[in-house]
Assembly symmetry: C2
Homo-oligomer: 424 residues x 2
């Protein structure tokens, strides 16, 4: 029997039986079944006694609707960059939508046509973990060429969606329209998909408000009922699989969307300044180094040819740099390497605690770090956002990095925690 | 006027006046005041118009109580390793307690003497960010020499307390008594200190239960009323300053302590196996590398002379390794370096999402990573615990790392997420 991908099969091993859809396997020795739960199960081929075909995979065609332009509705542009949200790859049906035409989007998400006139474009299709600075620039350029719409939705893989949100917030200075990033934690071919609500909610938010700037629209809870509009620079993926994986850190959501009802948690700011497209230099080398026990000076030295370094320190902004006796000799070496590197490139402190803000005056370690030029005291910026902000400053404000680090440029720092001298 | 550290002063600048305690400054150009809120404020010396002395610092002597051994009470040993919890450095009084005698502890925490007979020892006094593997061994040896008590409290700086908790859990195999790590987020000289409740709660927990093994005792909320006993390998510091900074991830607390009342959330396990002291090799070099956009292959190559590497991947366990076109050429190089390194040293995947578990079968990236030998699929281990577990396995089970990685050895993996083949 020749099995085809997408066939529903029963696999019988010595002890058990499994029913699922036959999907591609990473290894010759393993058979992968997509179970009804949506998850994949790997079964060693040597364990398999027999395989029975339960249902052949069948091709299903999507009905393509003709779209009428409705004068009363605003226009929303949907830009696709990859991820599971819009690429409905269903092994069950064999159908793949990848051309990303408005008709296809509307056949997948019919409610869209009631909310707005939909334009769409596939910019690229990439796993979000593979995204590089050049991709940010590509998305930003596409946005800057299309600002004659009510707003733009960027569909994106969730793994690095928050990095891209930060990047677009920095690149698109004073953007006068909403740019809403939307992902899906469960692919559109699963019953539990969050794609529908996330996309529809983003469309309602754009159609019904005058929000300006970059934000994220994702589920507010595991219930498939409400979404949050989340601040681009204060949000982080905090769960590998839950629909409400995206959490605001050191801030609050911007708004909640329940069907078409929108409730703002804070007053959106209105931009009057001129829009500027401030692209990130694609070849910048910036590292992220997390403090951990038993560090070696080599871990600092690794970055000697980089353009900048983000430290994920411990607690209020500490790093293992203190020498007490021979048991901590390596910490002294780490200190010396840090001191040396800090003369060459900007080194920024953040906290691996994620929540809360830095205070590098409380303990001697933080004061020593400040003395050798480590930047970051009094900020509550996320390490991921810090990484993007450093790339932005290295691209456009290289001489003012120290000064601008403690300024809140895009909502990345809670101004209330900044000491007076930064608030002028 | 000659000011002394600890003096209460009023500082007058051009625009403002500040009142606080004069504390040491990291820089010659800055004057640091400890405000009533407990936080420090730096003021540029050039801005200062005048300084007025409000109250001289005064030395206060602690009354040392004589301790009587009470036959009815259990004995608890308190081992001090550093951190703010027991080193009451008060600028207000000038008094410093650092010898860590039982009498001093009881003068600071009088309730202790009602709960247990207290023995104490200062092992070392170190900022917890500076702790190295050799320190874990020193603490563990001290514990192994003192198992004739009801239980042991280890006082510790909070920054890396969760790493040490994991390390002790792995090193002290089948420990028959409770070892409870306790820290304080606010130092004992502040009104808002959490030191008292954390220490007293740990003592009650040891005195009143038959718990065996390593755990953490810290505040359960910002109210100074209840503590949690937290699992050593499933807890992480998730706030820079809050009293309830320690959060359980992918698990639940073990118990709650309200004054002397203890409520268990799960049945503690009883150890019948023989206790073994399994020290960690102090010179192991293990790195932690977090996936981020725009990575360079060099960031992998940095670890070529290390003994092991923890990856903090994105989402379900991904890393930027896919080549699509010239925009992602560097990702291909990263893939090649990872493939090369994986032949030499164990490389383990964890998720920077922290919450949730890995599933490296869902996407092609995860499957490719498994193909080149990256370990970690189906685990929900924290990156910090993974770092410690890898050090432990490299020290004692070097040939079985792949096999043992997916076994739950110390509560570091939720067994329910493991596929069948790991549960035998």
């Amino acid at each position: 029997m020749k099995l085809k991908l997408g066939d529903k099969v029963k696999i019988i091993t010595k002890d058990k039986e499994y029913i699922g859809i036959y999907v591609p396997s990473p290894s010759k020795n393993t058979f992968i079944l997509k179970l009804d739960s949506g998850y994949n199960l790997g079964i060693s081929k040597i364990k398999i006694k027999s395989i029975r075909l339960i249902k052949k995979s069948k091709e299903k065609k999507f009905k393509k609707e003709k779209i009428k332009f409705k004068k009363k509705l605003p226009t929303v542009l949907i830009l696709h960059t990859g991820g599971t949200i819009a690429s409905r790859v269903s092994y069950e049906t064999g159908a793949v939508i990848s051309r990303f035409k408005p008709e296809e989007l509307i056949s997948m998400f019919p409610e869209l046509k009631k909310i707005a006139n939909i334009k769409s474009k596939l910019i690229f299709q990439i796993f979000s973990e593979d995204i590089r600075f050049s991709h940010y620039n590509k998305i930003a350029k596409e946005i800057s060429k299309n600002m004659n719409v009510k707003g733009i939705i960027v569909t994106h893989g969730t793994d690095t969606l928050h990095y891209t949100a930060s990047a677009l917030a920095f690149i698109l200075e004073n953007i006068p329209i909403p740019v809403i990033l939307v992902g899906a934690q469960r692919s559109s071919d699963r019953g539990s998909t969050d794609a529908y609500l996330n996309l529809i909610s983003a469309a309602y938010f754009i159609a019904k408000t005058n929000f300006q700037g970059v934000a994220i629209c994702m589920h507010s809870s595991i219930n498939d009922e409400t979404c949050y509009i989340l601040p681009a620079c204060k949000t982080r993926k905090l769960h590998t699989s839950r629909r409400d994986a995206f959490k605001v850190i050191n801030d609050s959501p911007i708004a909640e969307i329940k069907k078409s009802e929108i409730k703002f948690f804070k007053k959106p700011t209105i931009t009057k300044e001129k829009f500027k497209l401030k692209l990130i230099k694609p070849n910048l080398k910036i590292g992220i180094l997390k403090a951990h026990p038993n560090m070696y000076a080599k871990e600092i030295d690794n970055y000697k040819n980089f353009d900048g370094l983000i430290l994920e320190g411990t607690g209020l902004g500490q790093f293992p740099i203190n020498y007490l006796d021979k048991s901590t000799l390596e910490n002294k070496k780490t200190y010396n390497k840090l001191k040396q590197l800090s003369k060459k490139i900007p080194i920024v402190m953040t906290s691996q605690c994620l929540f809360g803000s830095l205070n590098m005056n409380v303990y001697a370690t933080g004061r020593k770090l400040q003395d050798i030029g480590i930047i970051g005291n009094y900020t509550d910026i996320l390490p991921e956002t810090a990484f993007i902000k450093l790339a932005f400053l290295l691209s456009h404000h290289k001489k003012d990095i120290k000064k601008l680090w403690n300024k809140n440029l895009r909502g990345e720092i809670d101004k209330r925690i900044l000491p007076e001298q930064y608030l002028e």
